[in-house]
């Protein structure tokens, strides 16, 4: 689930990126398509690029950025109990098993959500974040209000994100640092027993791996 529920002016809510919406009209889009096609043809004709290279580049950036790496780790842990055990024991090594590296000496620790315990990750000092697995931190993660309030009122913070926890569920807050980066292993949603690993990956959102959301069986989009 994304955090596009109403926050009002809550400081947890990063201003929406104004560029996420499409601006061009269909006519403008057609003109832009033409302009870029001509530019690409020109540069290919000059031998500066090949269309094949461009395809591969787009694929790399679309697939390798963002929380897809983290989602793969989560889905693997859901389907493979032995992997999950290794992940909870030594996350740095277990994540590297899947080919994700780039951590700069810091350790990864993965904390598991259960029916009785919910985990929330924060960095109270700055914005320590496991970018190789989760991509860029969301703007609100760096926000002073999120950083301080997560410690004193985690349930309130979660409520702001639209996550109401049962009183009986314990909330643990994990403070990332330069040495240790935390990631949440969210609970596998009920009713997903028949899904493949690839289908499960698609369900895992960034927010669920920070701990401000659950993984939903049917994400909103």
């Amino acid at each position: 689930m994304s955090h596009d529920h109403p926050h009002g002016q809550s400081a947890h809510d990063a201003p929406p990126n104004p560029y996420l919406e499409k601006h061009a009209t269909p006519e403008q889009t057609a003109a832009l398509e033409k302009r870029v096609r001509a530019l690409e043809s020109l540069l290919v004709a000059k031998g500066l690029v090949s269309s094949d290279t461009l395809d591969k580049l787009v694929e790399t950036y679309e697939n390798d950025l963002g929380p897809i790496n983290g989602a793969k780790v989560v889905a693997r842990a859901w389907v493979d109990p032995a992997y999950k055990e290794r992940l909870l024991k030594d996350a740095t090594a277990a994540i590297a098993e899947l080919g994700f590296s780039g951590l700069q000496g810091e350790h990864m620790v993965v904390v598991e959500n259960t029916p009785n315990t919910h985990n929330l990750v924060v960095c109270t000092l700055c914005s320590c974040y496991p970018w190789p697995v989760l991509g860029l931190p969301p703007t609100w993660f760096k926000d002073a209000a999120y950083r301080s309030r997560s410690v004193v009122d985690p349930r309130g913070v979660l409520r702001d994100f639209g996550l109401e926890l049962d009183e009986s569920t314990a909330v643990k807050v994990w403070d990332s640092s330069a040495e240790i980066r935390y990631m949440v292993l969210p609970e596998r949603p009920a009713g997903t027993e028949g899904l493949s690993e690839a289908e499960l990956i698609a369900l895992v959102s960034r927010d669920s791996m920070i701990g401000v959301a659950r993984v939903e069986k049917n994400p909103l989009h």
């Binding site: 994304s2 601006h23 061009a24 403008q28 889009t29 832009l32 398509e33 530019l39 540069l43 580049l57």
Partner: protein, 131 residues
């Protein structure tokens, strides 16, 4: 060898930050993907430094923001329109193509063009703001 994203590109911040949702890139149309890849590919080949491209992008986006003083949060022009204009400028700057060559693809939309290589000249808003 599997290529990996260049952090200089993927981690740009502020106004020039790549539009991303939940960490992943957001492209609206096929041309945005192509324009993205063209700029990255030419930089990877050493045709220019990423910062040279980015300087144009900062100027393009900064210039556009100023024209929207009444609605500062609502840019009239999409991110990759700025990206494309920046790419064309850096290509001209590096002599990788000529103004005439760039004009080939623009036939249908003279109003969408910025003045070529006009370093200090601010482009006029190219796209009317949709409601």
């Amino acid at each position: 060898m599997k290529p990996t994203p260049d952090r200089k590109i993927s981690n740009m911040e502020g106004d020039t930050a790549l539009p991303r949702q939940s960490g992943e890139l957001v492209f609206h149309d096929a041309w945005e993907r192509r324009a993205f890849a063209l700029a990255v590919a030419l930089c990877e080949q050493g045709q220019y430094q990423w910062d040279e491209f980015r300087d144009h992008l900062i100027a393009e986006i900064g210039g556009a923001d100023k024209t929207q003083a009444d609605k500062p949060d609502t840019p009239a022009t999409g991110y990759y329109e700025h990206w494309l204009a920046s790419l064309e400028k850096v290509l001209l700057e590096k002599g990788l193509c000529t103004p005439d060559q760039l004009r080939v693809g623009e036939g249908a939309e003279p109003s969408l063009r910025t003045s070529p290589a006009g370093g200090s000249q601010r482009p006029v808003p190219r796209v009317p703001r949709p409601i």
